[in-house]
Amino acid sequence: MTDWKKTAAALDPPIPEADVEKLVPVMEALEAAFRPLQQKLTAEDDVYDNSCIG
């Protein structure tokens, strides 16, 4: 899983250290929910566009 503190520090400009702590648990939970969904994707799966709505 991503090291969010490291990622936040590597941005230009970095996210201020004081603000990073509260982001970490939220990003960890979001990543934990999102990565398994990505496993569903195949090369056939195109990106969304407005025509998808129907």
Binding site: I15, D19, Q38, L41, Y48, I53
Partner: protein
């Protein structure tokens, strides 16, 4: 008075647009200090416009049901010559040099703009506890939030200041205030109402729509906002016999306040008593859709506000700043994958429409929380207020389908409860018909804060 009742009274010369507008301005002057629903009120321009609309009617020029009706725009909608703050300190002095498309359309329909409503900063949140313009308060209990981000619009309509206010909805921002304030909110199919000239938040999930007291008022407002010359208005005693109403057997009723669950199920029974067929449906993975929606919105909103975040960071409220920081952490490839997953889930969800005409769900899992609450109990467990409140709605923005939120009951403590009616793409007229039938049968809309 509703839009349609006012429209009838105007044509019968029982009231003038100027009188309706003065009445709205008096109500705003009386109640806005308590509710903080408005950021800007332009009484002088509104009165001049109302007089012009009266003159037109007296000369036989009739622009339709919104002719001479006072209304407000959410302060995210560009209005030429009137400041448009987006609920942000950064835009506190911004005066657009042109109107948004919906401002043009409502102007063409003869509506009378009286002011701009307060909102969650940048429309990025559900409380409307705005750090720059003050917290909007719920007319049913001023210690509680009106919902958001279109909180001022919801509060203004619920308090009877106006019969119509515009809203935007990226993850529930029309339907949440409608649910918490006991009014009607329509989020139409993605793209049916132009977004041009409305400050964006998430380009692929932003929707425009009306917040009104009644479903029929929402119908006439929706058609005007979309720039449609004529539109369907549900008739009295709208017939829903034989209509197939889907009732989710998974997700939507899993974690709910008990009174909300009871009230929504009662609405389902009402529909059945009116002749609709109730059909159990298993909906695709809504949690997955919500996760996809969050990834998309975090990235899109930060794309919109990156320059503000990087160069005017301290002028942004803490909660919005945190979300914008999160958006900086979303990888480009993850955003693209979220858009690819979106296509898969839209395809899965659309299969439901072969078996049902619409789907009933609760609008929000709870009634309005108190101002300042960060977590709340839902079905016995603690949940983050923002995530809980958007839980039944965010997926619908990912899908882009129309959704109507109407009041269907009240808690014992007197707080409104919302019913959400979902339809297939472009099925606005059908969900409005169903909504009108439920509204007529429950009589809930007659109750006042």
């Amino acid at each position: 008075m509703t839009i349609l009742a006012s429209a009838e009274a105007l044509r019968a010369k029982k009231v003038s647009s100027l009188e309706l507008t003065n009445d709205a301005l008096e109500r705003i002057a009386r109640d806005n200090q308590r509710l903080n629903a408005f950021i800007t009120v332009d009484a002088e321009t509104a009165r001049a416009r109302a007089s012009a609309m009266d003159a037109e009617l007296s000369h036989g020029i009739d622009r339709g049901p919104l002719h001479g009706i006072p209304f407000a725009h959410k302060d995210l909608v560009y209005t030429k010559g009137i400041r448009t703050t987006g609920g942000s300190r950064i835009f506190a002095g911004f005066v657009p040099d042109h109107d948004a498309d919906i401002a043009i359309h409502l102007n063409n329909a003869g509506a009378v703009l009286v002011g701009k409503t307060n909102l969650h900063e940048f429309a990025y949140g559900i409380t409307s506890t705005n750090p720059h313009f003050g917290a909007v308060r719920n007319p049913w209990d001023t210690e509680r939030i009106p919902g958001g981000s279109s909180g001022g619009s919801g509060a203004a309509v619920a308090a009877g200041m106006l019969p119509l206010a515009t809203g935007t909805d990226t993850g529930g921002s029309i339907r949440i205030p409608a649910s918490f304030c006991g009014v009607t909110g329509l989020k139409p199919t993605f793209g049916l109402i132009s977004k041009r000239g409305v400050m964006p938040l998430g380009w692929t999930m932003d929707h425009m729509g009306p917040i009104t007291k009644t479903v029929r008022d929402a119908a006439v407002s929706f058609h005007a906002m979309a720039g449609l010359a004529t539109g369907y208005v549900p008739p009295q005693s709208a017939d829903i016999r034989g209509l197939r109403i889907g009732l989710p057997v998974n997700y939507y009723f899993d974690k709910l306040d008990l009174e909300v669950a009871e009230s929504v199920r009662a609405a389902v029974q009402t529909a059945a008593a009116l002749g609709a067929r109730i059909i159990d449906v298993k909906v695709p993975d809504v949690d997955a859709l919500n996760v996809i929606g969050r990834v998309l919105l975090l990235a899109e909103a930060t794309s919109v506000h990156r320059e503000h975040l990087l160069h005017r960071r301290t002028e942004i409220g803490a909660d919005v700043r945190t979300l914008l920081d999160q958006g900086r952490l979303i990888r480009g490839s993850d955003y693209v994958d979220a858009q690819r997953l979106r296509r898969i889930y839209i395809r899965e969800f659309s299969k439901l429409w072969s078996g049902v005409d619409c789907i009933f769900t609760p609008a929000t899992p709870t009634p309005a929380p108190k101002i300042g609450e960060m977590t709340m109990k839902v079905g016995g467990a603690d949940e983050d207020v923002r995530l809980a409140t958007t839980r039944l709605m965010r997926a619908i923005n990912v899908l882009g389908i129309p959704a109507l939120s109407i009041p269907c009951g009240f808690t014992k403590s007197g707080l409104p409860i919302g019913l959400q009616i979902l339809g297939a793409p472009r099925a606005e007229d059908m969900i409005l018909r169903v909504g009108a039938a439920i509204e007529d049968a429950t009589g809930v809309v007659g109750r006042r804060p």
